[in-house]
Structure formats: structure tokens, C-alpha cells
Amino acid sequence: MTSASRAGAPPSMAEGLSRVGGYATQVFAVADAEVRKLRHDPSELLTRAIQPAIWLLLFGEVMAQVRGLASGEGNYIDFLAPGILAQSVLFAAIFYGIAAIWERDLGVLHRYMVSPAPRSALVLGKAVSSAVRGLSQAVVVYLLAIVLGIAVDLNPLHPIVVAALIALGSGLFSTFSLIIACIVKTRERFMGIGQVLTMPIFFASNAIYPIDIMPAWLKAVSLANPLTYEVDALRAFMLTTQESRYGIGTDCLVLLAVTVVLVAIATRMCPRMTT
């Protein structure tokens, strides 16, 4: 009887606060474990820095010779740098689904799933750890950009906004990846579908060329692609020479809304991983 009335009564303020604190602890637990793993073996961060370097040095230098690619007042390398930053974040985040399948096959995921932590706390924890990874990735691209003489905006406030955008984008795409993992469940299938999805997300966006030069149908696809809004906002805040086309408010709203929807879907779907 006592327990029944307790369950029925609305939670007091203190109870509510302690619940929020508990939830935050659980999200932090998942993210912190991930960060500790990265600290034990940071080699992955270095190897992941190679790809953006190649894009900027090889692809960027060559494509800079093509007239009409650059938009705004900067040159093409300037235009490309935020796109490559977003790309490196996207590729790192998409890896999260495979990591989840790997943890599932090992049994590590079961430990999370039998804990009293709400499913959404586990999904958010993974998103936060992806954000941390994305941020360390961003530092590398920033350094590279400065070395290459790209017009990086170092007004102290702007890198903070960039960091927030990177965190949001990482969370978004890692959660998307988690949903795919919940559907395909095996590494082999994920490898296949991961490639099929990442390339269109990357190419059907404004990451490496302006949307204006796209045919109409592709333009429509790009406008439905969250990466476009991520890159758009990054351009405005990473560089001194570019501006946002859709408005930073729209960009953030799109990214946030998509992330919320994806987290909700992943929360519903993740119990499938351990059945």
C-alpha cells in the first residue's frame, strides 16, 4: 500500500531534481567511459586526421584551379575547409553504429541494457561521446587549416560556436548510425549500408561544391540533408570570408530538431540490439 501510494503521488521537487541528476550521471557515465578509452589509445585520432589532410591538400589544391567553384569572396580552399571539417565529423560519427554492433557481439552492450539507466540516457551518452570525438577531430582540422593559410576566424567567440555545431552534428550522425545498427545488426551488412549512406550524405550536400551548380533534383536532396545546414553554419563561423545562406538560426533549428527525432527513434529501437 505504501509503495503503491508512493508510485501514484506526483514527485516532489527534490525527487525530481535527484532524478534529473541521476539521469545526467548515467549519460555522463557512458560518455566518460568512451573518453577514457580514447585516452588509453589515442592513435585513432591521429589516423583519422589523415583523411581530411588528404582532402584539403590533394583534392582542394587541384579543384581550386577550377573556376566557378568558389562562392563568396574567398578562394576554393577556404570554401572547402568547413566542408572537410563536417565530413571528418560525419565519417567518425558513422563509425558509431559499427562500434555498437561490435559491443553487442562482445556482450558489453548487454551490460548497459540490463542496467537501470533509461534507454534514452544510453543513446544520449553515446551521442555525447561522439561529440567529444568530433571535437578532437575538429582541433586537428583547425590546425591544418591554419597551416594551409585558410582564412580561419579566430575571434574567440566563433570557435566556441563551431564547437557547439560540431558537437551537435556528431551527436546527430552517430545517433543516425546507431539506428542503422539496430536495423541491420551485423557488421557485414553495416559495412555495406554504411558506404551506401555516407557517400550520398557527403556528396549530396554543400560540403565540397556550392548547391547553385547542382541540377534541381540534387538541390532538393541537398536541402533535405542535415549536413548541408551543418556546413552552412560552419562556413559562417569558421571563416572570415563566408556567410550563412540559410541563417544560423535555421541551421541550428534543423540540426537540433533532427537530433531530437533521431534520439527518440534510437531510444525506441535500441532494445532490439540485445534480443
Binding site: 508510485a7 548515467q26 578509452k37 588509453h40 556482450g107 548487454h110
Partner: protein, 274 residues
């Protein structure tokens, strides 16, 4: 089953009625009535494919039942899964410790997930490390642990929050006899210190005999028999072993089903624990 909404329901830690799981028309767990008493070590025995793992997945809330009802650690499995999860510990057959984290970090992760108050985290982790003999290895990555050390770490992780019920799926698979004995001692120690109720699955009859107060024999998804190892053996004959009891129930089809995926996982898990 009582009507009291929640809270520990008397002396039973697990109480199922007609619990069943059907996959694609195939009944894997067939209307099981299981009662595990507070403070006992109960062994579910049966060959691969008998339905042990599926039953365990239902009891740990990982898999929703197709039919039947169950209370685990005092709460209804269907309506209060989160309350059940907060009160049980689960050591899966697969490797659940994270090899890329140290022993200490693995324990810290569990302490946080189970919301052990901050002030108690460190004392409990220290106590768990001492109890499992892992103090010296606490700051080493778990991937460098031996199979027995990993198992003890996993048990420590699953019991930091002092669960009323600890469920272990094949706890000693792939371990050498010395490591296996240490795990057994640790399991008995948990019951003695904290009164933890323990449910294990095993297909090693020796383990059931040595460790369990009572065993239930699962065959083809049905719980065929329940009793103390001694009583079950006495039913067959004076010199009977649990193997004989099992053979009398299961006949010769000791191995029924399972698939490549299960085999691959079991072998990988055995290799990692070996």
C-alpha cells in the same frame, strides 16, 4: 501471485507462471513455472538449445515474453522492467567487461549506471576489488586480464549495487579448474555476505552439483524437473549422477538446436575467457 502492487513479494526472488517465448511459430520457452527462493543458489541446467538463454533474457528484461507472467526481485517483469533492472545483477555468458577500460574504470562505469551515491562509489569499488582479489590489477586494462580475472571483474561489476538477485549465464564456461573454483568460491561468498539469491545456467552437471542448492532441468523449452541435486539423483538410483538424471529426461538427443551465430559467439567467448 499477490495483488500487492510492488515491493519484494515474500520469500520468492523469481516467480513465473506460464512464461513462454515463441520465435516464428517455434516455442523456445514453453510455459515455464519457476520459483526461486530468497537466498538460494539455483541452477538451470540443460543442453545448448534447451531455452536457457532465452529464459534468462526474459528474466533480465532484455526480451519481452510471448505469454505468461513473472515477478523478478519483487517487481512485475512486464510493467516495471526498470525496477527489476535496478534490483538484479546480470553476468552474461559473453564478455561484458570492456577490455579497453581498466578494471577500476569498468567498476566506476557500473557504479554510475546503477546510481550508487558518489560518496559510496570508491569504498564499494575498493571492497569489490579486495573481494575478487583484483586490487593489484585494478589499473590494468581488462584486455590483459586472464579469463578467471575477467569473470570475477564481471561479477564485481554486476554486484556493486548489492542486487537481491544475481543471474549468471554459464559463469565458468571456458575456465580452467583453478579459475573455476575461484568463481565458485566468490559466488558462495556473495551469498554469505549479502544474502544474494543466485540463479546460474550451466550445462556442466558437475557445476550444478557442486554449487547449487536446487536445480531445474530445462529440456526442449520445458522445465521438466526441479529439486535438490541429491533428491534428483536418488530418484534414479543409488550411484546416479546428475548426468544420469539428465539422460533419463532428455534421452540421447543431448544437443538439439542453436545456430551458427550462437556457436560462433560461444566459441569466441570461450576463447576470450580461456
Amino acid at each position: 501471485m499477490t495483488n500487492a502492487a510492488d515491493g519484494p513479494a515474500g520469500p520468492l526472488q523469481i516467480e513465473t507462471r506460464g512464461l513462454a517465448k515463441v520465435f516464428d511459430g517455434r516455442t523456445v520457452v514453453d510455459h515455464v513455472d519457476l520459483a526461486v527462493r530468497s537466498g538460494e543458489i539455483f541452477g538451470l541446467i540443460g543442453p545448448n538449445g534447451a531455452g536457457k538463454s532465452t529464459l534468462i533474457k526474459m528474466l533480465t528484461t532484455l526480451l519481452p515474453p510471448s505469454a505468461g507472467e513473472a515477478r523478478v526481485a519483487g517487481y512485475d517483469l512486464r510493467t516495471r522492467p526498470q525496477a527489476v533492472r535496478a534490483r538484479i545483477g546480470y553476468v552474461p555468458q559473453l564478455l561484458s567487461a570492456d577490455g579497453a577500460l581498466t578494471g577500476y574504470e569498468n567498476l566506476l562505469l557500473s557504479a554510475r549506471l546503477y546510481l550508487i551515491p558518489r560518496a559510496e562509489r570508491l569504498p564499494r569499488i575498493r571492497e569489490a576489488l579486495a573481494m575478487t582479489g583484483l586490487e593489484a590489477a585494478a589499473d590494468r586494462l581488462a584486455q590483459h586480464y586472464s579469463g578467471g580475472m575477467l569473470r570475477r571483474l564481471e561479477i564485481a561489476q554486476s554486484t556493486l549495487h548489492r542486487p537481491a538477485l544475481l543471474i549468471m549465464d554459464e559463469p565458468t564456461v571456458g575456465l580452467d579448474p583453478v579459475a573455476r573454483d575461484m568463481v565458485w568460491d566468490h559466488v558462495r561468498d556473495l551469498r554469505r555476505r549479502y544474502g544474494t539469491t543466485i540463479l546460474i545456467t550451466t550445462h556442466v552437471m558437475e557445476e550444478a552439483d557442486a554449487l547449487c542448492d536446487r536445480v531445474g532441468i530445462l529440456h526442449g523449452g520445458r522445465l521438466e524437473k526441479v529439486g535438490t541435486p541429491a533428491a534428483l539423483k536418488a530418484e534414479i538410483g543409488p550411484d546416479a549422477t546428475l548426468d544420469d538424471v539428465f539422460a533419463a529426461i532428455a534421452g540421447h538427443d543431448k544437443e538439439t538446436e542453436g545456430d551458427l551465430h550462437d556457436v560462433r559467439l560461444a566459441r569466441r567467448s570461450a576463447a576470450e575467457h580461456g
